[in-house]
Symmetry: D2
Subunit: 194 residues, 4 copies
Amino acid sequence: MKLHKSLAIMALVATTGLSSLSLASATSEAFGKNVTNTNILESEVQAAQEAWGKALIQIGKDFDSKGLKKAKATAQAVLDAAYGYNMGTVLFKPTLTQGNQVFRTTKEGALAYFVGDNSAYPNDSGFALKGWQKYEFKNAGVYINGNMALTMGNVMLTDKKGQVTQVDKTWGFVKDNQGKLRIVLHHSSLPYKP
Amino acid sequence: MKLHKSLAIMALVATTGLSSLSLASATSEAFGKNVTNTNILESEVQAAQEAWGKALIQIGKDFDSKGLKKAKATAQAVLDAAYGYNMGTVLFKPTLTQGNQVFRTTKEGALAYFVGDNSAYPNDSGFALKGWQKYEFKNAGVYINGNMALTMGNVMLTDKKGQVTQVDKTWGFVKDNQGKLRIVLHHSSLPYKP
Amino acid sequence: MKLHKSLAIMALVATTGLSSLSLASATSEAFGKNVTNTNILESEVQAAQEAWGKALIQIGKDFDSKGLKKAKATAQAVLDAAYGYNMGTVLFKPTLTQGNQVFRTTKEGALAYFVGDNSAYPNDSGFALKGWQKYEFKNAGVYINGNMALTMGNVMLTDKKGQVTQVDKTWGFVKDNQGKLRIVLHHSSLPYKP
Amino acid sequence: MKLHKSLAIMALVATTGLSSLSLASATSEAFGKNVTNTNILESEVQAAQEAWGKALIQIGKDFDSKGLKKAKATAQAVLDAAYGYNMGTVLFKPTLTQGNQVFRTTKEGALAYFVGDNSAYPNDSGFALKGWQKYEFKNAGVYINGNMALTMGNVMLTDKKGQVTQVDKTWGFVKDNQGKLRIVLHHSSLPYKP
């Protein structure tokens, strides 16, 4: 089981770029050696957004080619690698959740949202299984403060028929001690229609 | 003009609790004197949420009793006191914005949302002028990291007819050098309706 | 070897209190559940100072009762548990270093200072092997900022003859993702004598 | 009085580079507009070190050419511009302090150290009045974490006779809301002589 998961993470890293960024060896712009800098770079925020988009598409591809079990393993690996559930509560409001299950502060709830197949979350059909083909980000603003970065903007997802779903999305990333950005905040909502 | 604004802020502080919290004199739990602690306390986050709710209601009351000009002055004072537009970009996605004006990263855009009356924002009728009578928060999760705090949950607003509007709301607060919490992130959305 | 080291750490935890503090389960003062707070508490800073004092004495006790090999293992465990060499550069200026070996930014250099026995550091006789019996802290000031805390003050160490050595000491602690405080800055110096 | 002080600060800014760095307009490396980044850059840390060195020399020059009153005004301006006494406690252990006045957590104590002339600090003869001509930094390590940066290394000060005094120096800088680095930690000590 654990081996399976490790392999899933390794494969995911290879295909999506959800890799661990080296912390201590951050290029020293001014001082040379013996510099440790734990702060988030904008390029790291961009890479984390890209990795999220690629991972979403990968889960759908794995579902189409290898079935639900594989898609679930990939989704679990994404949650382990890209979200901060191992660091505490994650503030996650997915786009299409409702009732008393709007917020998914646990990994189980997040997994159910992405791949469904959990009787405790009967309304979840698996957002990542919808066969998304393309993603695009339009950031409206970015706020970087220490080891935390916030982004807000639009995300456009294109499905197999070429139809585009646009959402308003806010992310909060924290850089962990290994230098890896992890999502600890994710608020996604459909555009307001008067 | 500036005097007018100062008075508006002072009045607001008195009625809503949007006051400046003392930083350097934070009670020292263990070391006694000579302790400076810039970190956010949970109680400060709660106070900031309460102040936001009270300020929203106050703008509406001022509109009803004294008209648009007064309401606008109050709203401006709220933005000056409670948001972080003086510290840079604010990531603000109000509940009811649309088109290419969804995000309000400037103070002007935020003010237009709350009180309308700005021809550059033709769809804004003034969210704070709707006569809200009551607010309630149900936090789903809180993440405190240094001088930054994130909250996610539901906000219920009750209007004059007793009807309740519920939104999904995310806030990001930063504590400034004066020890005051400022909103630098605000994503609000109506519940998803399948 | 690794087992040996793990056992040394476990024993050290039992005797000195150099234990890992739980992060995610920090008592929630206001919000109840689903709160993650990565900030440093003053009580954690105090505990980290105490743990350093106890560890210093323990290394000396282990040297006296079990010899250099055991003392070295304990010192290594202390460095692994209490310092941040696993997180990058540590800014360490020990009390009694000289020449071009004043600063010990690597774990090897720190270990040599505490237990000597390293030909690359010929002036190091092992500060922790001097048989310290008692420690006392007098903090002059504390600065807590996010996941980082700075302390400055006097440390008084008493040897077997009852003689007291007083130093001026500055520490910088960072709280890691496991909620453990780690020393990333340590400047110690003898009092100025005109 | 206040005008005098403002003028002193302005003159100081012109001669030493102790100027306020713009925060909100930090060059956006990746996202373009609407980016706020409060983190410290290495170049800012270097600039802050340089400004400290220049300011120390300037106080001495002002003393030589214009007398104690002017030197005192300059020193006060340096403390206001470069240290964090306006933000809380400053952890300051100057090189040559003794007895129960080793630590200077207040601005008054810091001023006395730099320019003397304070009967409450009888041992202070004015470190900045010694006519320092040149400074040089050799950083041994740097740790940047959010809006805080720590540096440790040697500082070499050359006097009028060409004699060099070397100290071991640790600094802790905090970036304030105006984007200005302020010293909140300063531990300086003469080299250990066995």
